[in-house]
Structure formats: structure tokens, C-alpha cells
Amino acid sequence: MLTHLIAAALLSVPLAQQTDTVVAVAPGARLDVHALGGEVVVRTWDRSEMRVVANHGSRDRLDISTSSVVARVRVKAYRGAPSAVDLEITIPAGMDVDLGGTFLYIDIEGVTGEVTAETVHGDVVLRGGSGVINLQSTQGSVECVDAEGRISVGTMNGSLQLRNVAGELTAETVNGSITVERASARSAELVTVNGRVAYQGTVQDGGRYMLSSHNGDISFTVPQSTNATMSVSSFSGEFVADFPVTLTETSAGGKRFSFVLGNGSARVELESFGGTIHLQRP
């Protein structure tokens, strides 16, 4: 009930007041923002300061506190629950970022520090950056573009999209598709229950790649020069390859088999209980 009332309040209160302030931030300090609802946009600059522009309700105030380890931004109501807030925060590029909220849309660009962003209702978008990146939503989509590092994205009901990404990739959803394009991943673990999983990018020697769905189709695009040991598993699905492959092992029923491309250096596992597994060239 409390959540229903808060959601209603967030929708009904206009953003009537703007706060615009700049504060110094210590080297190595982490940005910590938690807001119940609204939008958080994070951008970067080459100054050791943080600028916060907030559009918030007239009954709310912005609470910014800084220390040697954290720069904390909160929205507090003079009375009752705070209304929605739109925050645009500009920080040093190397700053670690921790964002969270319930009815929150999150948009991050250019951060090279560690990023953690989590919301329940709302999408998460990240462009640029490197390092440890963790983007989670419950009911929204997650998009990660032009990033490199250990990237983990997840949602329950929504799509996951990664484009022009590199490093170690983990993507997990239940009811949603996973699309990875122009990837240069050392490893990728892409898992959904109901949804399509597609990977298009390089397959590095020694890398590990696992794509799994229960009901959805799997699409794996392999460049001509790929060196990989491929394992394909299904129960009631089909396997389609756009080029000839020579099977080295086949289980009873023909639903589990493996084959080698090139010198077989990387390991690729493609699994779908009931969907079609499609192997294709770029």
C-alpha cells in the first residue's frame, strides 16, 4: 500500500523548483545517488568538482554531502515522502558511481570508474566507460554501448542490449531478449528463460562463450577465422548452420553435439531447450 501511495505521489507532484550547485569532490571519492523516482543523468568533465542540477518539488530539498570517500546526493521532503526528481550530475570521469532507485530512469555517459546502477521501474542506459559495470533493472530495459571491462547487465522483464562492448560480459533476464552486437568479448554468459539470445562479434582464442535460453532462439555469428570448440545442446529445438560443419561427437537423438572450428581454442556453448540454434557468418 505504501508503495502505491508513493507511486501516485510521484506522478502527481509537478517539478517546481531547480537547484544548481557545484561542490568539490575528493580524489577517489564515490558518487552515491539514491532517489525514489524521476531521472538521473550522469555526465563527466575534467574538473575535480561535481555539479548537480536538480528539478524537484517545492516541498523537497536536495541534500548533498561529501567526504573523502563519498559524494552523496539525496532528495528529502520537508514533510512526507519526496516527489520525483530530475537530476543531472556532472562528475570527474574516473569517479566510481553508485545509483539506485525505485521509479527511476538512469542515463550514464563517459564514466570510467566503477559503475553500479539499479532500478525497479525504469530503463538503464550507459554509454562509454571502462572497468566494472553493473546495470540492473527489474521491469525495464538495459542498454550498454561503447563500454569495456567486466560488464554485467540484468533485468526480469525487459530486453538487454550491448553494442560495441569488450571484455567479460554477463547478461541475464527471464522474460526478455538479449542482443550483443559488435562485441569483442573475452567471455560472454548470456542467459534468458523466455527470449532470444544473439551474439555478434569476435570469438577470441581461449575465450569462453555461453548462450542459453529455455524457449527462445539462439543466434551466434562467427567470423571466418574463428578458432573454437562448439557445443550445441537442445531437447526439442533445431540446429541450423549457414556453413558446413563436421560433427565430432553426437549424442543419442542428435540433439547434443560438438564440432571444431579452426584450432578449437575458444569454448562456445549454445543451448536452447526448445528454440532454434542458428550459427551464421557475419
Partner: protein, 217 residues
Amino acid sequence: MTDAWTDRLSEYLDQELSATEREALEAHLQQCGACSQALEELRQVTERAGALEDRPPSGDLWSGIATRMAAKSETASHAARRRFTFTVPQLAAAAAALVLLTAGGMSLALQSGGQRGGQLAASAQYTGEPVAVAASAYDAAVAELQRMLDERRDQLDSATIRVLEENLAAIDHAIAEARAALVEDPSNAYLNKHLATTMWRKVHLLRRAATLTGEAT
């Protein structure tokens, strides 16, 4: 897929084979893709279990479940003396439940000799039916998490509840299909792994939901 070496893979993973047996199995693995794949799958489920963070969800929701599971698990480990080696399907099922115990901070209650949680599944000594214990622990964890979610559902908005229910239904459907498939093909290592990971996914989802209710308060 089964051959003379299939049931020795868990011993191989735990380095419990003699040097002669180890050499023979490694020679066999060079020639047998099915055993190589089964071994890799065993490695994956144990690595997945061992790599999990030993961190409860916010709000200490997990502690109550873990406490309830501890008694059952300790009973299983303390009375043990008989050597028991898992087969491929057994290991997969046990690994799913082991994930619960490891993630809930209960791995110490089951560990023997300071092994990693994931390795435990293949090497711990039990007297009873280890898979039955694992399945029981899994069922208990799911029931407890589901009960907590039901009790606190008024802290979530209707859209989130609907999403959770849809997702749980999707996972339950996947579990049911995997179980039915295993009846047809019980030695299928893929199906065993798929069932184990899908069961783990349900617990993961319920724990996530419990965390959401904790955040909302």
C-alpha cells in the same frame, strides 16, 4: 553417454583417483567427447556454486531460511561416514541446492576439510541420500522465500507483483518441462544442468524479490 568412466568423473574433479586411474581417465578423455563434455559441465556447476558471493539479501530475510536449513544440513553431514560419489545427474541436482547453501552462508555447515562449496557436492561424505537432502533444502528455501514474499507483497506495487508472478510462472514452466524431459532421457547431462540452473534461477528471482520488499520498507 555412459561408459565405465562416467561415474568416476566427480572423483577425478576432486583429485581422488590414483595416479594410474587418473592417467587412464585422462587418456580416455582425449578420445571421448561425451565424457569431456560431461566433465566440463560438472566443472561449470561446481564453479558456479563456488563463485557465488556469500552475502545475504538486505533485510536479513535470508538468515531465517539459512537457520532452518542448517539443522537439516548438519544432520546430514555429522552422521556421515560412508563414501558416496555422485553420478552426473545427481551432481547436477545437488549443485542446484548447494548454490542455496553457499549463497546463504551455510556452506560451512556442510563442508568437509575446508573444501570450496562447489567441490563439496562431489566429495562430501553423507550417510543418507544426499540428493534427497539437497532437494529437500531447495524445496524448503523456495517455500520459505515464497511465504516471505506473500507476507510482504503489499509493500510492492501491483505492476511489480505482476512481473514477479509472470517470471515465476515462466521459470516454473521451464522447470516442469525440464523435469518431464528428464523422465524421457535421465542420463542427458544437458537436461540435468539445465534443470539445475533453472532451479537456481527461481531461487535467485525469489531472493531478488525479497530484496525488493526490503528496499521498499
